[in-house]
Symmetry: C2
Subunit: 398 residues, 2 copies
Amino acid sequence: VERSAGGDRLGPAGVLELFRTGRAKTRSDVVRLTGLGRGTVSQRLDGLTEAGLLVSDGEGVSTGGRPPRRFAFHSSHGVFLVGDMRAHHIHAAVTNLEGAVLAERMLSIDVAAGPRPILDQLIAGLEELLGGLGRSPIEVRGIGVAVPGPVEFATGRVISPPIMIGWDRFDIPGHFAASYSCPVLVDKDANAMAFGEHRWCWPDHPEMLMVEVGTGIGSGVVIAGRLYRGAFGAAGDIGHIPYGPGEGSGEEPTCRCGNVGCIEAYAGGWAIARDLRKLGHNVNQTADVVTLLRLRHPDVTALIRHAARIIGVAISDAVNILNPSLVVIGGELALADEPLLAGIREVVYRRSLPLATRDLQITVSQLGGAAGVIGLALMLGDRAFAPELIDEQLGFRP
Amino acid sequence: VERSAGGDRLGPAGVLELFRTGRAKTRSDVVRLTGLGRGTVSQRLDGLTEAGLLVSDGEGVSTGGRPPRRFAFHSSHGVFLVGDMRAHHIHAAVTNLEGAVLAERMLSIDVAAGPRPILDQLIAGLEELLGGLGRSPIEVRGIGVAVPGPVEFATGRVISPPIMIGWDRFDIPGHFAASYSCPVLVDKDANAMAFGEHRWCWPDHPEMLMVEVGTGIGSGVVIAGRLYRGAFGAAGDIGHIPYGPGEGSGEEPTCRCGNVGCIEAYAGGWAIARDLRKLGHNVNQTADVVTLLRLRHPDVTALIRHAARIIGVAISDAVNILNPSLVVIGGELALADEPLLAGIREVVYRRSLPLATRDLQITVSQLGGAAGVIGLALMLGDRAFAPELIDEQLGFRP
């Protein structure tokens, strides 16, 4: 109530947002969408163009007189650096300010080597990509890192991570601050994927659950069209829901997190690799599981079917609690499209209430392996062009 | 963006809200909180007073000159009628416009008797309470009904309810429309409880889970300070999360919903009554279980401890997914304060991730049996005094 008091006039940030989200192309679009006067709109457009945030984009279609000048969000006025980390690799990418990937590379790592060497390897990889594009570190407007562990989002610190040995409470943004002065955000992997997938592919599903089925299992929760992190950043942790009572009966497998009987300890990529080794297969990582999956080896197909039913139990719990209209399955094992999706659907439709499943869609990721890097870049865009920052930068006081 | 364009001046509704929520008492308070001019504020206060929404509330403390006139929300300018229904009773109440209970009564029902006779009994009971207060049906500003089943909130219809036989898709608001022209809202019982408990007792916990442990088990989810209903109104259904795979091994108890192995089929009041009967006790309903509980009979204490661990499993799943900062346990069996709370806490702290439980509080309801009726009345208040309605009623166009 207080905030909108005294006339909350729309500043340049609001006008920029119309171009950034593709809703406006011309001055007339802005006048129509905002109700601001033509003079005010011209002033806003001039300010945004001078600040390098908007660019002239040719001429639009005339409706009679002189064709209107078109404007566009200046998406190449800087770049974002992003790294989407898993246990054994980082998907490193340079993106433009709209989240389009300009250059990318897979870096092999062992996440348990600890934060400093791995983040230095990431920085070196990103700077090579940057150099290859002929761009300079000074053009970097934001850095985003997704990690396979719980993150206290406000501080960018990983908290009591099950697999990121040596990372507990490490100040990831602080490590970048030695070389970069731009904002650095850190989030858990499934959140980055959920954000990318939601914004680019499913904006019409304000209540969405993105489930990552890779080496580990996690989820990102979208509520009212926004990423929901919970009170402390731990929301969406379905991988460590115990399958069964989790009381250590002696029959339940031990999880990477130290507990017994977690969903992930039955159905994560690492658990499937473990079970394949017991069957005599030479597999080490989730990537090896994916290779066998591509070959349609019956052992792995059977294990994936079993895993799907267990993951389905966790997803049905989440569906009962959150009641989303869409569940998107992503991650390396989502390649196993048919058996994985069929198994998950069967369990969710059986275990959840009719009202929750009546109009529920369950589908696989559209962005595939790129969901994480795109999600990070889009999060950075929202942060770099946050209305209060832009209005302040352009000297506008509402 | 569009909404705030062109100067979103604060109308009378925004000023009323300051009094309704207790943030303003005088004209000066409004000037300070909103930045509106004194003349505009006086005009708003006059309009609201003429419309009967504000009343003069004596004089405030002078800061030098004439003591300022005090205003208050006119909470007796009408009443709300509410009915909080369970399988065997309805808590019927008349409240003022701030949610304070003016008169109340317990009505005995059998919910399976179907909607018409039960709603007619509720209407008769409410009208008797109304008459006892010397108030007339014309003063009723809203009617709220909470039911023990899933509700499609937009239409006020119960959808595929497990225990409300004969209620499926019944138009509850339509039944009241024959006698009342005011708004009628219908929500599931745990949502009404969550709303009341959150608004009156825990406004500083924007992420809260309210768990009802009564005849059935359900929950209401508060996110970002608002009740979260999910895409279709089914959010928070933890009672029908299967405890274990729910595949019908033959050992799992059958639930009232028709599935097997639901949390409720082990730990709801009806399931505990079933288990007590097997032990030779003469118990029919949850109320009988509560009686034994008050007597601290060791059989019921042991069953409650067991139930607490099973309910704890469902709550820990919800904590992993939602990451609230507060879990409130309410419902008839929450009387079993010590064994219930201890068992739930033990399981949740063991089964959930450290980041999710680090600052998590688990406590019992402050409002007790009144949470539902108070929650309904507060929801009705938000609806009756919704800013767009008030501004329209007072002819204000932003």
